[in-house]
């Protein structure tokens, strides 16, 4: 293809170099030392340290813990989407021998439990500012552990039962008789903000809790007026759920003697759980210890507090024994924080040559019955223009309440949604403009020499070589062999389609992170850090980083996480933040530790510290040398442990980016789609451990593909009942419906942090929705199909083919 068909348009020069928050002024010699370290471990596919316990059955998942004397909790859940809670009769449940308590909202109020302080409005300096229509802070709907008057979604906990055995607790929970006065409900995103829709909260009669506008309205209007082509579409990126294979669980204990609570509960970050749950319980932070060791998947669903966590701690105080709760899979389908559910209407203005002049977007995010997180709306809003230079844009961002389970940041929060929109628009525009879809994209990409680039809604893209990603992906996909493959498929009765999508996503996340590094006297390096892995391999990749910085073998480095009595601070894992924040703060702490070590070495040998050389973990000068472990040991008595702790705040986002291409064969008769090829190129910045980063990409792809092809939290609008409550109805990526992938990592180091890290956790998912739909539509193009909604099930494909064919037949008939 001809890359130079048209001259490139001038893109504004890079925005003035911004101060990066990880350092002020010149880096110290030690920081320079660590950032310039000759990487022996970083960049290598080091097999994971954590695997040893996980492959031998010695993992420490929440449900694996038991405490002496523990009893069990089961939840009584609302079967109605919207109702006033009436009388609760627990007598039949309490009559069962072995039932210890049935706790209701009245009991909760009597004990003065508080709502979960979710803090849903993203607040780093770079997050877009979401507000109510009158400019005030949005009303988010208080999230009490038990609802005060009304239930607002199916599955909401209205009481909990505590009993001697789990079987008994479950049985007793069925005997709790709750009266409901059923109210009209609304579940559909497109309905909730319409005139006359039932109000989920009296405080927000129109259900619209956020209504903000961004961008240059005047400029956009002017650009649209002079546009040669305008393309407009509406998309619904429907609701899915995380399906962590480990259902959530919790074990809580109140120790009457010390007045302390202990919670075993896997989550996305123990420190946040501690902070928020202590507020619910109304106790000082230090009176709650949270333990979160092995976590069987998160994907965003476990970052926020679940009502069951404070409930079992409270129940433990009430009954005087440890209380355990383990969710069933059906409970998980009903009440795990769900993802996506965004309606977006996008309009693009093009000039004659196919350059984008301006964009209008209108995003409506369904937050469910309470606002737990606005991250999806916020993240998406900042990235509406995708990988393309769009000089001018306006955006309206709304969030609405409905009688559904709350949504939360789910794998690559907000980015797959808007990537879907802009990439579908590029395909549709290419079609309408009669241009090649790759060429149209190429023409509009943000070029590397425009980096750092400020997009039309104010996001500063840090770095990236978008066109290079695209070309490499094209090469890896054997682009030129497609036509032959298509012909071959055709001979077998299959329609082969090819999908294409670029993406840029942003990683911000909680800005604060702390690392404590200690060189122990027994020859280890202990690192305490407040991120929380759920499969991302922190125990290995973080150890690689610290090992290189201190010049010690990776085996000697031990990462300690998950116990808030040890880990006092930390932002948890989300938004691709962990390696970037941890890497940065570990680098700074390592530098401080090396500075201290150097002065200890100087003191030890009575030499000038400026002459000291540090290499491979060994300090040397004037013929003497001491390795860091021996130094720690030799100086411990005088100077205490060789230790450094640093807390760092980093608000600057990074922008991982890349390209995905896939091919899908569609059966002409049944519409059955099969993915035959899937290629990605992902710029993750510096890659610490390619084994792990590739793994992240693979899993991310599967989650995106899952949403595009099978997954849906189906809700019957008429009854408000969720109807995909098990794996019988919620379609999942499986071993035999996923292909092997061809993935390549591109490393354009980010200038925003010492290691040059972007992120590798979300890149797989972000373009996947778009690329799958793009491929299906391409396969069906000969039928005149231009678009199709997700999930693209066989039935939907078949129907699209048929109705396109019917339309064609009608057209032919009328033309005759």
């Amino acid at each position: 293809m001809n890359k130079n068909a048209l001259p490139r348009r001038a893109v504004p020069a890079p925005t003035a170099s911004r101060e990066v928050s990880y350092r002020h002024g010149e880096p110290s010699p030690e920081l320079k030392l660590v950032t310039d370290a000759l990487f022996r471990h970083i960049g290598k596919p080091v097999p994971r340290k954590e695997d040893e316990r996980l492959i031998t059955g010695k993992g420490r998942f929440t449900d694996d813990f038991n405490l002496p004397g523990q009893v069990y909790a089961a939840m009584v859940r609302s079967p109605h989407p919207h109702a006033v809670i009436g009388r609760t009769d627990a007598s039949a449940a309490l009559a069962l021998p072995g039932v210890l308590a049935v706790l209701t909202p009245e009991d909760m109020l009597a004990d003065d439990l508080q709502p979960i302080p979710h803090n849903p409005v993203p607040s780093t300096n770079y997050d877009v500012k979401l507000r109510a229509s009158d400019g005030s802070f949005p009303f988010v709907g208080p999230h009490y552990p038990l609802p005060l008057k009304k239930v607002r979604h199916v599955g909401e906990v209205v009481a909990l039962v505590v009993a001697e055995t789990p079987a008994l607790a479950e049985e007793a929970s069925e005997l709790v008789d709750v009266e409901y006065d059923v109210l009209p409900h609304v579940t559909a995103t497109a309905e909730a903000f319409q005139e006359g829709a039932p109000a989920v909260w009296d405080e927000v009669p129109d259900n619209v809790l956020v209504d903000s506008r961004f961008g240059d309205e005047e400029g956009t209007d002017a650009a649209f007026r002079r546009a040669a082509h305008v393309v407009k579409r509406r998309f619904h990126i429907d609701r899915v759920t995380a399906v962590t294979i480990e259902p959530r669980a919790a074990l809580g204990h109140f120790d009457a003697e010390t007045g302390r609570y202990t919670l075993y509960a896997g989550s996305g970050g123990a420190v946040r759980q501690k902070g928020e749950i202590s507020k619910v319980l109304g106790v000082d932070r230090e009176r709650l210890r949270v333990l979160s060791f092995d976590v069987g998947g998160n994907f965003g669903a476990r970052n926020r507090v679940y009502v069951e966590f404070p409930l079992i701690l409270w129940a433990s105080r009430r009954v005087g024994r440890p209380v355990k709760f383990t969710a069933t899979r059906s409970e998980s389908f009903l009440t795990e924080y769900q993802g996506r559910d965004l309606i977006t209407t996008v309009e693009l203005a093009f000039d004659e040559a196919g350059y984008i002049l301006a964009m209008r977007a209108d995003n409506i995010s369904n937050v469910g019955a309470r606002c737990v997180s606005l991250s999806p709306l916020s993240k998406g809003s900042g990235l509406i223009s995708g990988s393309y230079h769009i000089p001018c844009a306006t955006l309206r961002a709304r969030a609405i309440f409905t009688n559904t389970m709350c949504t939360q940041a789910y794998r690559s929060s907000g980015r797959p949604e808007v990537t879907f929109a802009i990439e579908r628009m590029m395909d549709l525009a290419a079609e309408e403009l009669g241009m090649d879809r790759v060429e149209l994209r190429r023409r509009n990409l943000v070029p590397p020499d425009a980096m750092p680039y400020t997009n039309p809604v104010g996001q500063h893209y840090d770095s990236g070589e978008y066109e290079k990603n695209m070309d490499r992906a094209i090469e890896l996909s054997d682009w030129d062999g497609f036509e032959a493959r298509k012909a071959e498929a055709r001979a077998r009765g299959k329609l082969l389609g090819r999908g294409f999508a670029n993406y840029v996503e942003s990683s911000i996340g909680t800005p604060r992170e702390r690392a404590e590094i200690t060189v122990t006297e027994d020859g280890r390096v202990e690192v305490i850090i407040g991120t929380q892995p759920s499969g991302q391999g922190h125990e290995t990749s973080f150890a690689q980083v610290v090992a290189d910085m201190l010049g010690v073998p990776v085996e000697r480095v031990q990462i300690i996480l998950g116990d808030t009595d040890i880990v006092k601070e930390g932002g948890g894992s989300h938004s691709g933040r962990s390696m970037r924040h941890a890497g940065t703060v570990m680098a700074i702490a390592s530098a401080e530790l090396l500075a201290d070590a150097k002065s200890r070495f100087a003191d030890l040998h009575g030499i000038n510290s400026s002459d000291i050389d540090f290499h491979d973990g060994v300090f040397s000068a004037a013929g003497v040398s001491t390795d860091i472990f021996a130094l720690a040991q030799a100086t411990a008595a005088d100077k205490g442990a060789l230790h450094a702790a640093h807390t760092n705040e980093m608000h600057t986002p990074v922008f991982p980016n890349g390209t995905a291409i896939c091919e899908i064969e569609v059966c002409m008769h049944t519409g059955a789609p099969v993915i035959t090829r899937y290629v990605t190129v992902d710029d993750v910045g510096r890659c610490i451990n390619p084994l792990i980063v590739h793994g992240q990409t693979h899993g991310g792809i599967a989650q995106g593909v899952g949403q595009a092809m099978w997954e849906l939290c189906a809700i019957d609008e008429e009854t408000g009942q969720p109807s995909a409550g098990s794996f019988m109805d919620y379609g999942m990526p499986r071993s035999d419906n996923m292909p092997s992938f061809t993935c390549e990592i591109a490393e354009v180091h980010s200038p925003t942090n010492p290691l040059g890290i972007k992120a590798g956790g979300e890149g797989g998912t972000t373009p996947a929705l778009a690329v799958i739909v793009s491929a299906i539509v391409d396969a069906l193009s000969e039928f005149g199909v231009r678009d199709i909604s997700m999930p693209v099930t066989p039935q939907r494909i078949w129907q699209a083919m048929r109705s396109a064919q019917r339309n064609q037949d009608n057209l032919d008939r009328s033309n005759r």
Binding site: T165, A167, E170, E171, C667, F727
Partner: protein, 272 residues
């Protein structure tokens, strides 16, 4: 996900099993348990006693005679799928059984359990109907037509025990299944068997009343056994079930396509 209180019993004979059943208040026979136990775990069923019939000798084994292949009700899917006698005499049956559930399910689930349950999306009922099976219970003998009585319903009376099923050996047969992408049960599947006295086409997964014979297809194929014979036909939409995964119109289309594939593939083929 804990069962309500129950008593587990393991009789060694049919008589013992019946006696145990009769003495129960809400008893159930337990075979593979892969439908019953999930229902009980979900508290959607409560049985005071579970009578495990898997070790009863009369319910075991696979045997062949001139016209029939007889399979004991307690025979597991994995054993049927792997049995040389099944593979030799009705390869489509062996192949079909090899697609039920997944490997782990096939190691436990049994033919009797599947047929006694008569799930509208299960595979076995279509084979039994197309292969003109004879159902032997502890009390009587039933034809497949007599046995299948609609959605989840069979002729079995409470306490009546399915002992064995005899499949009439066809000249040849084929099975084609289009799976529900979520549950992996059939959205539609067709078992086509050519017998000396005619073609039998049984459809599962698609009908409102569970498994049924598609008579129009049978006569079209009886006229000429090739997939093109079905081209002019349309499966009856009136009787097609409709759910969130497939509406009646789509199911009707799949029924036809599966039947055509079962005609051209003389074994078992999974279309999705």
């Amino acid at each position: 996900m804990y069962l309500y209180d129950t008593t587990y019993l393991r009789p060694g004979s049919i008589d013992e099993a019946k006696a145990l059943y009769d003495a129960g208040e809400s008893p159930a026979f337990l075979s593979g348990g892969h439908t019953l136990l999930p229902a009980m775990k979900g508290h959607l069923a409560r049985h005071d006693r579970l009578i495990d019939i898997r070790r009863i000798p009369e319910l075991q084994g696979i045997a062949e005679d001139e016209s029939y292949l007889t399979i004991g009700a307690a025979t597991r899917h994995c054993d049927v799928a792997a049995a040389p006698v099944v593979r030799n005499c009705i390869p489509a049956l062996a192949g079909m059984v090899g697609t039920i559930g997944d490997v782990q399910v096939r190691h436990v689930g049994t033919i009797g359990g599947s047929l006694a349950n008569n799930d509208p999306a299960a595979d076995y009922p279509s084979a039994a109907l197309a292969l003109d099976a004879i159902f032997r219970t502890d009390q009587r003998t039933l034809t497949a037509e007599e046995y299948f009585q609609g959605l989840y319903t069979t002729a079995l009376e409470p306490g009546e025990l399915l002992v064995s099923v005899s499949f009439r050996k066809p000249e040849h047969a084929g099975y084609a299944k289009f799976r529900n992408p979520a549950s992996r049960y059939a959205l539609a599947a067709a078992f086509v068997a050519v017998h000396a006295d005619g073609v039998r086409v049984a459809i599962t997964g698609a009908g409102n009343d569970g498994v049924y014979r598609w008579h129009e297809a049978e006569s079209a194929l009886g006229h000429k056994f090739e997939s093109e014979s079905l081209d002019p036909l349309r499966a009856d939409m009136e009787n097609m079930s409709s759910d969130m995964h497939a509406n009646a119109e789509y199911r009707a289309e799949l029924v036809k396509f599966c039947t055509q594939k079962a005609v051209t593939n003389q074994n078992c083929i999974t279309l999705l």
